[in-house]
Symmetry: C2
Subunit: 273 residues, 2 copies
Amino acid sequence: MTVLSFAQQIAQATKHNRSLLCIGLDPDMNKFPEAVLREEWPIFTFNRAIIEMTHDLVCAYKPQIAFYHAQRAEDQLEMTIQYLKEHHPHIPVILDAKRGDVGSTAQQYALEAFERYQADAVTVNPYLGLDAMEPFLDYKDKGVIILCHTSNKGAKDIQELHVNDIFLYEKIAQLSASRWNYNQNVGLVIGGTYPEALAKIRAIIGDILVLVPGVGAQGAAIEPIVTHGKTPDGGGLMISASRSILYASHHDDFAKAARNAALLLRDEINQYR
Amino acid sequence: MTVLSFAQQIAQATKHNRSLLCIGLDPDMNKFPEAVLREEWPIFTFNRAIIEMTHDLVCAYKPQIAFYHAQRAEDQLEMTIQYLKEHHPHIPVILDAKRGDVGSTAQQYALEAFERYQADAVTVNPYLGLDAMEPFLDYKDKGVIILCHTSNKGAKDIQELHVNDIFLYEKIAQLSASRWNYNQNVGLVIGGTYPEALAKIRAIIGDILVLVPGVGAQGAAIEPIVTHGKTPDGGGLMISASRSILYASHHDDFAKAARNAALLLRDEINQYR
């Protein structure tokens, strides 16, 4: 059996589901319906319901690990990914963990992401430099999605500092597309709230995959993201939404409401491809 | 009861134990003695033995969370910190997690560090800017230790980029000592492998606490760290070692060997204060 690269997995799921939409699985129990809260595994139950109603509409799922850590629910994250691998193996899983640490510790984080959780890709922070990312990058069949320009307001504090004649985030993009991409498995995080940055970065990085958070609850518009971010074949993007889909309804119809929200968003994205 | 700030807790433990030494609790089961591996909770058993033999020699303990995540041992991290809080409440605990994410997610990481684990301080990554650190900084009695110049070789890739006329790490130090320190609870991580950076940063930050990894297995010399890094009162530093202490012996005498290694290191540090 040929092992697909992460980029190939995404391309396949994008084609199959006609979708650049990535759903973030960020479980906030304060927003769960009562009936879900009464379950033995409320987070897994919630995720499974979302997955069952949306797996034909997405190119990836992206659990945000902080929500599981805060709730002492690492086991339910394992259950969620295990469920995806069993029932929907063609939908890749991005573990959104934004890890960054020196080599011997980064090795432990790589074990966490790729061995314990069996994620297909992980997000990492570039501040510590290449050797801190190598333990992830050395898994050549896994995706390593490097923070470049994040979606938050404070992103400007550091990422838009001038390094010689360019912004720091452009420097990160340059390194990500060259020296750091020795296994052809790098992706970048670029917040949809900064579409002009996305345009500049796409010009630097060729067809490297870009994960775009910031739509939905964070308010980024779809059209400039797709127009500025897509590759010539209308791909190269994983546009991520979480709250606007997961919590489209707080009642027992949450999964159906999530499907409707996901369908609308997928189709809106497809208009501009 | 007056609540002490993190810096006050460290100063108190430093004074009581005449120590700037911080022991990193980075459990690597490949290096545990056989007898420990046979225990129901090997990591907790190992940590407890280390703590019992070293608690009079340190100013802090610093569990590195990646080692617990990789081993599916979050419960044993909880047990370790709980044990410290019950038996040695005057020794502060730094959760080395290097978290960094946008606001709503950072809030979850803050819950993880300060509510779930009850850590006294946490390490964070500044790449996402101030708003990503606010959920931590807003806990004003907790320490927030920001990555400035890390100990690894690749630290230079990004942290030594020139931003106008200074290095990026100096810019981080400036922001950490001013705008980001609105609750007077900021600390910085500066690798002992870069003592010249430590000297420059100390000149910028006044008496802000500095966590210094890189001694022991990573090979940094003690004298320049203390000489360049100390505050006028001979404090302001938490010098962290892990492997060189924890695994001083791989046999049943590991805890005694750890004590000897810790004692030597504490006393070597004190020579230069």
